[in-house]
């Protein structure tokens, strides 16, 4: 895999075209362009405040670009109906953001219920999803506070997949977990992704996670996109900015 040209003409499922984003005169993202291909897992990597989460939120229009355009399915997000756009994109966040007053079942069923699916279809979908993400059926009527961190995150993933979206956005989905559970969930994510081949955009600051889960890595630094790299290319790069990320895990004898 080679460096993908950020400005290539290939129609990605998601495309950033010279996107800048500011809040109160402060630049958070500057002239970012890249595209995400169908079925790949693109990692947005960078330290806190690099703008990677902002980039993620621009995709489902939780934020709107100050300049430039974000295209989803070939259409600018500003032309999309925001509600429709969001319901067609799965959204997984850190600590899962589950609804504390809903059971596991109701949490997973949120989007189907918003879309007024018939009851039986919702229920069979919940059963199917719980199996898919490895949740025991006995957990169905539990509330989030009765679950472990790993189980909560599984519910978060199941909830995002409920309406079978083609695109999945994940904001540090495994960030708040203990190392063992994290490793387990990463592995399962890989298996799941092989089966479902969704187009995934995942934010992380963990370079091991990036190399393990990503097809390609988009590196952000201080609101700018340094580049988009294939992961072999990223791991072998001589670029000083990339070495900053890769060297520490080399020294730790490549535990991935």
């Amino acid at each position: 895999m080679s460096t993908s040209d950020a400005r290539s003409n290939s129609q990605g499922v998601i495309q950033f075209r010279d996107v800048s984003f500011s809040v109160a005169e402060q630049r958070i993202l500057s002239e970012v362009s890249f595209s995400v291909e169908s079925g790949e897992t693109l990692i947005l990597l960078g330290r806190s405040g690099s703008g990677k989460t902002t980039a993620l939120k621009l995709i489902n229009r939780l934020l709107a670009p100050t300049y430039g355009q974000v295209l989803v399915g070939g259409r600018s997000t500003s032309e999309w109906d925001a509600i429709k756009l969001r319901r067609s994109i799965g959204w997984v966040i850190q600590e899962s953001g589950l609804f504390p007053h809903y059971t596991v079942e109701k949490n997973i069923a949120v989007v189907p219920q918003l879309e007024h699916w018939p009851v039986e279809r919702v229920q069979s979908r919940v059963t199917e999803l719980m199996q898919l993400v490895g949740l025991d059926p006995s957990l169905r009527a539990r509330y989030p506070h009765q679950l472990s961190g790993g189980q909560r995150q599984r519910v978060g993933v199941a909830r995002a997949l409920a309406a079978d979206p083609q695109i999945l956005l994940m904001d540090e989905p495994f960030g708040a977990l203990d190392p063992i559970t994290r490793a387990e969930l990463r592995k399962e994510f890989l298996k799941l992704q092989q089966r479902l081949s969704k187009t995934v955009v995942m934010v992380t600051h963990d370079v091991r996670e990036a190399l393990l889960l990503g097809s390609r890595i988009a590196l952000f630094e201080a609101g700018r996109l340094i580049g988009v790299f294939g992961k072999e290319e990223f791991a072998a790069s001589a670029d000083a900015q990339i070495r900053q990320y890769v060297d520490p895990i080399r020294e730790a004898a490549l535990p991935v």
Binding site: L85, W91, E95, F99, P100, V111
Partner: protein
């Protein structure tokens, strides 16, 4: 003392019911106005200061003065109970509006973001997430408002609106302790009862986290 209660039970009961009616109607109206106002304030930032400040000022007016102020009002002045109810509503607004607002704002920002990210409209966010999670706060506001209103309503007797205050005012005028207690004890019991009842409801609806 007990003899006095038994002897006058008919009148005490009538006045207690009247008292409950005044407070009940007033709190009902205050909820119908206060909860939507609290929701509105959570949506429109610029309304926050004027609305919360305004209800705050209302609460600082001494109750006897408020009854007095309202007396010359055209439609209100005709009937004392109407006037008393309006004054009680004005008092009840602050805790209800403020607690509704606080309840909505107490929702974890991550949960709100998840709801929006999944494609809930503002109305769905409110109905499915913010109100169910904020309901214990709202109920706490209603509870404070109710207990306060039961106390304030005793003063409504000063303008002839009836209620248990009548016994108290009469007792004060006649220097009759039994008469004062005949009004004060049922009023205190009403307040305690309302507090316990609404407190229990609040605890039942609290979401464990």
């Amino acid at each position: 003392m007990i003899d006095f209660f038994i002897h006058n039970r008919g009148q005490i009961l009538t006045l207690t019911l009247e008292h409950m009616w005044l407070v009940g109607v007033a709190i009902g109206i205050a909820i119908l106005i206060g909860v939507p106002l609290g929701i509105l304030v959570s949506r429109k930032k610029w309304l926050r200061k004027p609305v919360l400040g305004g209800t705050n000022v209302l609460q600082t007016i001494p109750s006897l003065a408020l009854f007095g102020f309202l007396l010359p009002a055209p439609w209100l002045g005709e009937r004392a109970d109407r006037l008393a109810i309006v004054a009680l509503v004005l008092y009840a607004l602050l805790p209800i509006v403020r607690n509704t607002y606080t309840g909505i704002m107490s929702v974890d920002p991550l949960v709100r973001e998840a709801a929006l990210g999944m494609g809930m409209t503002d109305g769905e966010l409110l109905r499915r997430v913010e109100l169910p999670l904020g309901i214990p706060f709202i109920l706490a506001g209603i509870r404070i408002a109710t207990v306060t209103a039961i106390g304030v309503a005793t003063i409504a007797a000063a303008i002839g609106a009836g209620g248990l205050g009548e016994l108290i005012f009469r007792g004060v005028a006649m220097v009759n302790d039994q008469l004062i207690l005949a009004g004060a004890i049922p009023a205190a019991l009403l307040a305690i009862g309302a507090d316990l009842l609404l407190g229990a409801l609040e605890a039942r609806l609290r979401v464990p986290r």
